[in-house]
């Protein structure tokens, strides 16, 4: 039996965290560029929330993080809004009902989601503009972006997990809660 403490406050704080990340993500020189890529922290944030939250809340946070990513990246709601909504819903559903919920499963699922999202984005971009050297672009920028985004998910995971455990009174079950 779970004792719900402050789920509303928890989600507000998660929302504030997402907005804060959206702000710092674009500021010049604040997020490091390593090997030609910078971490996409909003994607990491949405996926770590989906590890800890139920499918409905995950889908909503996925949509919000995706929309903020699209707005700051390209100006219009697009790829990330749709893809993150679906990814977060799938990650959360799998961890809640289909897979054994522990840290390793969660880490592997988040990696698979980050890899799929960024790779699909590169494929769509290359297809749209008919880039002859799209493989170079992916190797030079895409792979480092995947690795950096994945590693940025770890501190966010522990932060979100702490928030959710403290404020909602949910029980700790390894990876997902």
């Amino acid at each position: 039996m779970r004792t719900e403490k402050h789920p509303g406050l928890c989600r507000i704080l998660l929302g504030v965290e997402v907005l804060f990340l959206a702000l710092i993500n674009n500021i010049i020189g604040l997020t490091p560029e390593i090997l030609g890529g910078r971490p996409l922290v909003l994607i990491a944030a949405a996926l770590t929330i989906s590890v800890c939250e139920n499918a409905s809340v995950s889908a909503v946070f996925g949509a919000v993080c995706g929309a903020l990513s699209d707005l700051s990246f390209s100006g219009g709601i697009g790829f990330y809004s749709f893809a993150l909504t679906v990814s977060c819903y799938v990650v959360s559903s799998l961890l809640q009902s289909r897979l054994r919920s522990n840290f390793v499963t969660a880490a592997l699922l988040v990696f698979a989601a980050v890899f799929a999202l960024i790779t699909t984005r590169y494929l769509l971009f290359s297809f749209s503009f008919g880039l002859p050297d799209s493989a170079f672009l992916y190797v030079r920028h895409g792979i480092s972006k995947i690795i950096l985004t994945y590693f940025s998910a770890f501190p966010l995971y522990f932060l979100n997990r702490l928030l959710i455990l403290c404020l909602t009174g949910k029980k700790d079950a390894g990876g997902a809660i």
Binding site: A22, L23, I24, N25, N26, I27, I28, T31, G36, R38, P39, L40, N54, A55, S56, A59, V60, G62, A63, G66, A67, L68, S69, D70, L71, S72, F73, S74, G75, G76, I77, G78, S81, F82, T85, V86, Y89, S93, S97, R121, F129, L131, P132, D133, S134, F136, L137, R140, H141, K145
Partner: protein, 272 residues
Amino acid sequence: MRTGKNKGFGILIITLIIVLLMGVLSQGQNGILQDGLNLAALGFFNITASARSTPDSATPDEVRRLEKENAELRGQLVDYYDIVKENERLLRYFEISKKNPGYILKPSSVISRNPDDDFCSFVINTGYADGVSAGDPVITENGLVGQVSGTGYMTSTVKTALSPELKISACDKRTGDSGVLSGSAELSEKNQSALTLLGENCKIKKGDIIVTLGGDSYPPNLIIGSAGAVEYDNFDSSPYAAVGLYEEIKSLESVAVITDFPGKTEGDRLEN
């Protein structure tokens, strides 16, 4: 259990529909949301910049007073440097305006960069309130930088000349050989773009100056960069020349938008 699953799926569908609607509504000009986000980023950047010059307050009164004075003076010095820098920048654009009396320039600062764009697109602090519109050329004193791809009330997004999304009619100033300038992944690493669709008998030589050909979107003779030797594409063997941009795109801090020039028409706009 079943109802809970259905409810979750229902929320997913509703969320996707909302995303779809927002996607349709956000096409065209930058919306309020993006403008708000960019302005918040600008505000946040200003706050962090000012926080860096705040003194430590955990000291005795006299030291605190002196530190406060010191901080004020430092602030004034920073303001002075900013003013000097701003004056130099405006003077450079004034020179461009003097040489090209038909240009209406809007000096702007780069406020943020897109971490997901490998071709260095950025956001500037001027928008349609300042007369900037999508498709306007963006320059510095060293030459063309890119094109405005979307505008908000007070901010605009700029696609750079390194991006394959931009196609710019350009020519060799010496020989008159013309082609289309477009970015490529490999060349963008070296701050270069490619002049493609060249004729078989083109006479471009290394070091030639490449300028815009002119038209509805760009005024003629805007300097872009310096040509490399003509090479042949690995895929279709078509000739192209790498063009090293005169402006280092990755380290840009300020630019100017040409909001109007002789020959500009409203019809030719970059779709975003």
